[in-house]
């Protein structure tokens, strides 16, 4: 890792070594986690190869298929994005471009508070209110479904995406807005033709972080997704019960703990989730870096 040029005085400073150790700890923790997951997944890939990823049945003790859980995770994240993103982006544009400072700060404070509410609280509300609502509105036997989980995730990620997108919009220097105004453009045109395109990389970063949270949410999803390890038939029937990777891990980790092939299969699921989240995180970071350098 390349560091800034250091002189001998820097190298003698205990603070330098303290912060270096902290950075190293974070790096070791991340790599250690990835290494541990890979090591625990080796027996699964040795026995099943890539059929673990494509298999549709999760039957122990010798054969496990992760596809229903991968599908469930991607489907819930898709539904969450579908509902959350338009609302979050609209809200961010309105807050950043049209609200005066005091109401804007009030909205920001509420959004940031909501972003920090624990998943279990959302899960309980989803179980008691949202699942019932989905069941009644769509005339289902059971309101616990992939769609319900996606909708709940949409509500959960909405504040995160809104507040980060708003930050990205506010980061667009005022001089660009004033230049657009000086050309006779109104505020709506300025917001959509100047601010939004310039903030797009940051907004994409916010979206990726939000979707990353949706992918990783465990308890709230576990309470409303239905807990069925099946890809729905037809595959786009989102009102069927399903399973996501985190909810599967949440349900079975305790009983499989201590070794055995079941445990390795769950750890491999964890590795798949880690890789999915890592890809999203890297994509988000790439967009954010682009915005900063713009």
């Amino acid at each position: 890792m390349k560091t800034a040029a250091l002189n001998s005085e820097d190298l003698r400073s205990p603070m330098f070594w303290a912060v270096s150790a902290s950075a190293l700890t974070a790096l070791v923790a991340g790599l250690g986690l990835l290494g541990f997951l890979i090591a625990e997944s080796v027996p699964v890939f040795q026995r099943q190869g890539l059929s673990f990823l494509t298999g549709a049945e999760w039957f122990g003790p010798d054969e496990f298929g992760a596809w229903p859980m991968i599908y469930g995770s991607l489907a819930t994240a898709f539904v969450a994005s579908l509902f959350a993103l338009p609302v979050a982006l609209g809200s961010a544009v309105y807050t950043a471009e049209f609200l005066s400072p005091k109401p804007r700060l009030a909205v920001k404070a509420v959004m940031e508070y909501l972003a920090g509410v624990p998943g279990i609280v959302y899960g309980l509300l989803g179980m008691t209110l949202l699942a019932q609502w989905v069941r009644n509105v769509f005339d289902l036997i059971d309101g616990n479904s992939i769609f319900t989980a996606g909708l709940l995730l949409a509500i959960m990620i909405l504040p995160t995406v809104t507040t980060l997108s708003e930050d990205a919009l506010r980061a667009v220097p005022r001089r660009y807005r004033e230049t657009a105004w000086s050309l006779g453009m109104n505020r709506v045109a300025t917001a959509f033709c100047v601010s939004l395109p310039m903030a797009l990389p940051g907004i994409c970063g916010a979206v990726f972080l939000g979707v990353g949270r949706a992918l990783g949410e465990t308890v709230a999803v576990m309470l409303v997704i239905g807990g069925l390890d099946r890809v729905p038939v037809p595959w786009f029937n989102l009102f069927a019960p399903g399973q996501s990777i985190p909810s599967k891990l949440g349900r079975e980790a305790a009983e499989a703990l201590g070794g055995g092939y079941h445990w390795h299969a769950l750890m491999t699921l964890g590795l798949v989730l880690f890789v999915l989240a890592l890809c999203l995180s890297l994509a988000g970071r790439w967009f954010l870096t682009r915005q900063r350098s713009a």
Binding site: S100, W181, S182, C193
Partner: protein
Amino acid sequence: MSDQTPAVELRIAHVFFKNRRVLEDLNRRFPSRSATAIYGPSGSGKTTLLRTLSRMNDDVEGFRVEGRVLIEGENIYSKEVDASRLRRKVGMLFQKPCVFPKSIYQNVVFGLRHRDGIDRKALPEMAESVLREVRLWDEVKDRLNEWAPTLSQGQQQRLALARLLILEPKILLMDEPTSSLDPRSVEAIEALIERHSKLRAILLVTHNLEQARRVCDEIVFMDCGRFLESPPLPHSSPAGEELLNY
């Protein structure tokens, strides 16, 4: 608008930022086809005056105008006046050039593309015409699709001016447009001010008295948020001494 109607007429009692009075007692008419330099020391209120004329401070907390600002006879601070409609008549060029992260061509036609009733086929020709006006055409004609932020500061300022001129504003507000620019850009902008002062009203904020004398029909002195009948005394501001020599 008849030629007798001033392009800008100020009847400003006070302009405030919160409780701070930044402009006061500004009463003056600016004719429709002439260039007027506004000259004064830093902090004298020149930029605030230009921003007031284009309503750029509308969303600045605590900003308020007591009095009237008439553009072509219409009080721009009355509730009926839409700020964006006003700014189609009153274009403003800022001190620091600001180009959008788009191509040179897209920058030139940016404002025009967002207007209704524009013949899009005519845009390239119009772009060429204004780029020639600001003496930028020869420098960029072979790279119109290149990224505008890669241009030099002087080129960016001339591009920003072309972007304004293509909209044909009746009043052009220029806030120290040549400060820290290369001589070539300064010369191009000064020549343009001279030519366009016969077509539209130009208000030029400048710290360069020689420039004001070269290109403007009239010089207005400002200090402490007021117009001065005569240049300020040397001790009142750094610009005072230079003004006395004028």
